[in-house]
Symmetry: C2
Subunit: 357 residues, 2 copies
Amino acid sequence: MTIADLDTPAVVVDLDIFERNLTRVADYAAHHNLRLRPHTKTHKSPDVARMQLALGAAGLTVAKVGEAEVMSAALAQPDLDLLVAFPIFGALKVKRLRAVAERCNVTVALDSLEAARQLEGTGAAVLVEVDVGLGRVGVTPDEALELARQVQRIPGVRFRGLTFYPGHIRQPDEAAIAKLSQVVGGMVERFRAAGLPCEIVSGGSTPTLFHSHEVEGVNEIRPGTYVFNDLNTVASGECTLNDCAASVLVTVASMPRTHTAIVDGGSKTFSSDRLSGSEGVTFGRVVEAPGTRFHKMNEEHGFLDTEKSERRLELGQKIRVIPNHVCVVMNLHEFVYGVRGEAVEKIWKVEARGRLQ
Amino acid sequence: MTIADLDTPAVVVDLDIFERNLTRVADYAAHHNLRLRPHTKTHKSPDVARMQLALGAAGLTVAKVGEAEVMSAALAQPDLDLLVAFPIFGALKVKRLRAVAERCNVTVALDSLEAARQLEGTGAAVLVEVDVGLGRVGVTPDEALELARQVQRIPGVRFRGLTFYPGHIRQPDEAAIAKLSQVVGGMVERFRAAGLPCEIVSGGSTPTLFHSHEVEGVNEIRPGTYVFNDLNTVASGECTLNDCAASVLVTVASMPRTHTAIVDGGSKTFSSDRLSGSEGVTFGRVVEAPGTRFHKMNEEHGFLDTEKSERRLELGQKIRVIPNHVCVVMNLHEFVYGVRGEAVEKIWKVEARGRLQ
């Protein structure tokens, strides 16, 4: 089977680039003695998770219990160290988490005593989530110690350390990393001084990935997007276009006007995610003709302005588009096709797509 | 089972509102002698399609062959009149279409001779797609007759009529409808005068829905969103908030700062679709406290600004959010829960979600 045999839209992964991405980050983590706990939200595939573990990953991260269910069942490794990076609330979710915790070691990231109390009797451990500047979830660095102490007092719930997500750093320059290091290092030192040392201090986003060793106190990283990369990663400066392994194969289905091509992929194929930090609205880069402007989408229609395309597009032609944000793209597809040159070598099922929280 | 028993995020449909929406449009179409061919892209569920057919729908619309496969297989009605509202290209897709055409009557909307030629030997009929102002797919009204003549010359391919999607009309005022009527009426008249009468003239978007009978020549409508409605439909003026049947049940999982609540639904639950025609960025309306501002999303996190909330939100509380665009929401979920009051009465599988084009 070759790429030409694939029906569109199809997510195509260049296996050479993908394997290089996997190895590069595994090597980086090993070299700097960082535990690598890849975030599986990007690929949602136990097959890819297995490769990450084979390359030395110390554990896995999932975004929700639904993904934890898929990964723990498919991998069937009782010693798997699985982090659910979201607070758990509600009897049903707690029950599902307990079932996962019977299959592997589960840790939950959370930022409130209420969330920690939910874990009583589940066997799950806790990382206290700290907000280091993103302004999403997390206690402040000053509040972390108090929450950790409260967590420790809950019977059967084990405090393992801290987690943070520096998603506010899109362009990781020296000043941004130094500031982050000061905040995290200071916090870790306060925990040590208080007699509550952290087994795990988990940081790392894809944009800040290769700066993780410069952040004082961090001993674990949780990158997700690095396996495929996307235009957002390129924009952050942490990779080049040559490191983008994933693209979406689409077909030109209509050329109704001069300089207009409509492809068979819109927001139900690419999501509506815009390019981070970009002023203009564009939804991907056409590999065969990068001057093409992918400027608009409806659910199943992608609008290309071909005025500055380097090649003429033809009706029925298949083209590849590198997406803005690969994690949301994967969540919209049932299968991913791994290719080597033109040959389709692997088909992965996106097992955990669209799962419950 | 009640709503309180549902794990989150979950798409909840108020069955009273939903049934009223179905009936209202069926009655409207019957009253004005319009064929109703609902677009199933909104619900992607054969169960809902069956209800639409039971209420008198003359056929169904699908966005792609993947949806046609699901609907034709599940409904198993050889006389089903199924419109695939997208040009078909490529040997694989044509082969799949041929298999669908063996199970029911298939018509394809297209805008080029190249696309029409793909249908040779499939048994599919053709509606010529006309661009009436949206600037997406479609020939111009002046080009339609020539393309229809060319289609007629392809052996075994039957020309059935015209289709258009007036998606450019977001606020259907008198002037916009009058202009549309002139364009469509003129075109239909030219076809008649040329001895090529149209069996079907298919129009109708959700915003222009109840104006369809005012458009000269139209004898069929293809609304989709009307079954559930959403904030976009409310913004268009074609329905009120009381007609919005679908909401997403989410849980407040973190309240890290004053006036901030984080819920367990982000772009992988709601999509990143913004509100049409709105200046600000908001992602839904919190039913329990509409003053809440849903202003930001990550993949699994929804950011609520609760400063102007009418009620205090609590950690662990479940709340309902009416989405901007319900069609892309459905595509992200595996199940939909039909409720009557607090009781969960029906569970539909979103069978056609995430299918291939």
